[in-house]
């Protein structure tokens, strides 16, 4: 029987967290320790008031279990205000009949693995001002620019929509939710 190592490790981290505060370094030796939540990503999201819409949307399109499992993901999570800013298009997007569209939108906000804001800042610093790219689960990339010395981190999707950080990241045992202030996709989509 295969050993579910990620699950085991998550259990261990839960256990360690119960005995002492948990931290883990980033990729560089002088990186600051991270404070990790003890919940899975879907549970962590459920506890963030400003991310209620994205949490509900993940549940609506049946993606929530994906973020409750062993694999790690990072969600660029539009805030409730970001969805509200879409107006009627945002309301339509949340309708049950449009769940495939919502699923496509959400997939373009999900990145593989566990990426912190500090990881992004480190990559931007290493790139020395050049844009960097991250892959999404929607078969697109998001370009990231900026940084602490350039007015903050800016995310740009392949269709040109942009978003900025909207708060501290929420670190869970199996992923990260990074709040952003806009939906990173033209929700109405281009004509074919």
């Amino acid at each position: 029987m295969p050993c579910r190592v990620p699950a085991l490790v998550a259990l261990c981290l839960l256990a360690v967290g119960g005995c002492r505060s948990e931290s883990t370094p980033a990729q560089e030796s002088d990186a600051a320790p991270l404070t990790i939540g003890h919940e899975t990503l879907v549970a962590e999201l459920a506890g963030v008031p400003d991310l209620a819409i994205v949490a509900a949307a993940l549940d609506d399109v049946a993606l929530a279990p994906v973020f409750d499992g062993a694999a790690s993901y990072t969600i660029l999570a539009p805030t409730d205000a970001a969805f509200a800013a879409l107006g009627q298009a945002g309301t339509d997007l949340r309708a049950a009949r449009n769940r495939p569209q919502m699923a496509a939108v959400l997939r373009d906000h999900v990145l593989p693995g566990f990426t912190t804001i500090e990881d992004i800042e480190g990559a931007l610093a290493a790139a020395d001002g050049a844009p960097i790219e991250v892959q999404t689960m929607g078969d697109h990339t998001v370009t990231i620019t900026g940084g602490q010395d350039a007015g903050g981190i800016l995310f740009t999707s392949v269709d040109g929509t942009t978003a900025r950080l909207a708060g501290p990241a929420h670190l869970a045992s199996n992923g990260v939710a990074i709040p952003i202030d806009a939906v990173l996709k033209d929700v109405q989509g281009p004509s074919g």
Partner: protein
């Protein structure tokens, strides 16, 4: 979890780690207990793609070009790669495998085979009309969609429309000539997996990593893994989202991996440095040579 239970779990974890031949060690920078994880390193031997993908034989159905497996039918799978004996000068990163071979990162020069061929599994356009739709009426005037918006830019060029959970390919007259069932639409929890949709058998390691069970209990389509009831093909859950990106040893890292993204449990052991960079995708950790930017190893994240 209560404090007592947590600490008991720590002891249990330590015991498991000891059984795996490794004890827990103190993290050098934080003082926190860092779990040592048994990690196996896949070596794609010559002629053994890792991981591979096996498509089932296809036959022609009434209204489509592809027919899936029968319920409960055993599927061919490709399991983990063959492993080469560890040379004495090879850095040991993994434990001794049950087959008596050590698993380690192999020399770059010996690795020429693709590591990930999920990228070969492009979206399928099923010929015909979905059974649940009335395709006799023309959809002329309906709004056109670009397949790329749905993450399926590889679909054949042409006109596409959305209707009732499907992306429909239409001719100039608006008549449906093919379709793709969509996540959240035709591929929703509680829906029956389309009988006309191709079944794919994933590599054994990938199935284990995502805890998919037997090949009859899952389906893969358009970078999404679904769990299904093997008896009636009803979708029971969405198991995972995948990138489907192609990682090949000796090739550059795919676009979109500029940022360190290793899962929490592996960040202590596999850290970016002058000798190597590491990136995660679809259940594997890939090692990249910083000097060349080429992928030079793949690390499985489950012990077997």
């Amino acid at each position: 979890m209560g404090r007592l239970a947590s600490c008991a779990a720590v002891a249990a974890c330590a015991a498991v780690a000891a059984l795996a031949g490794r004890g827990t060690t103190a993290a050098p920078h934080t003082g926190a207990v860092a779990p040592e994880v048994p990690v196996s390193i896949g070596i794609p031997a010559s002629g053994h793609p890792l991981p591979g993908v096996a498509d089932l034989p296809l036959s022609t159905g009434a209204d489509a070009t592809r027919v899936p497996m029968q319920a409960g039918e055993a599927l061919p799978t490709q399991d983990s790669p063959s492993l080469e004996p560890l040379p004495t000068d090879e850095p040991l990163l993994g434990d001794r495998a049950r087959d008596g071979h050590r698993r380690s990162l192999a020399r770059t020069s010996s690795l020429q085979q693709p590591l990930a061929s999920l990228a070969d599994m492009q979206p399928d356009l099923i010929a015909g009309c979905p059974q649940s739709l009335d395709c006799t009426r023309s959809a002329t005037g309906a709004r056109a969609w670009a397949p790329g918006w749905w993450g399926m830019a590889e679909l054949p060029s042409g006109l596409y429309q959305y209707r009732s959970g499907y992306l429909l390919s239409t001719n100039d007259g608006g008549l449906v000539r093919g379709y793709v069932p969509l996540l959240g639409g035709a591929l929703s929890v509680g829906s029956v997996w389309p009988v006309t949709y191709r079944q794919r058998a994933l590599p054994g390691y990938v199935a284990r990593y995502f805890d998919l069970g037997a090949p009859s209990a899952y389906r893969y389509a358009n970078q999404v893994l679904y769990r299904v009831d093997p008896q009636d093909r009803i979708i029971t859950s969405v198991a995972a989202l995948l990138t489907g990106d192609r990682f090949e040893v000796g090739r550059p890292l795919p676009e979109g991996y500029d940022v360190y993204n290793l899962p929490l449990a592996y960040r202590e052991r596999f850290r970016d440095g002058p000798q190597a960079r590491y990136r995660y995708s679809d259940g594997y950790i890939y090692r990249i040579d910083p000097a060349t930017g080429l992928v030079n190893g793949a690390i499985e994240m489950l012990s077997t």
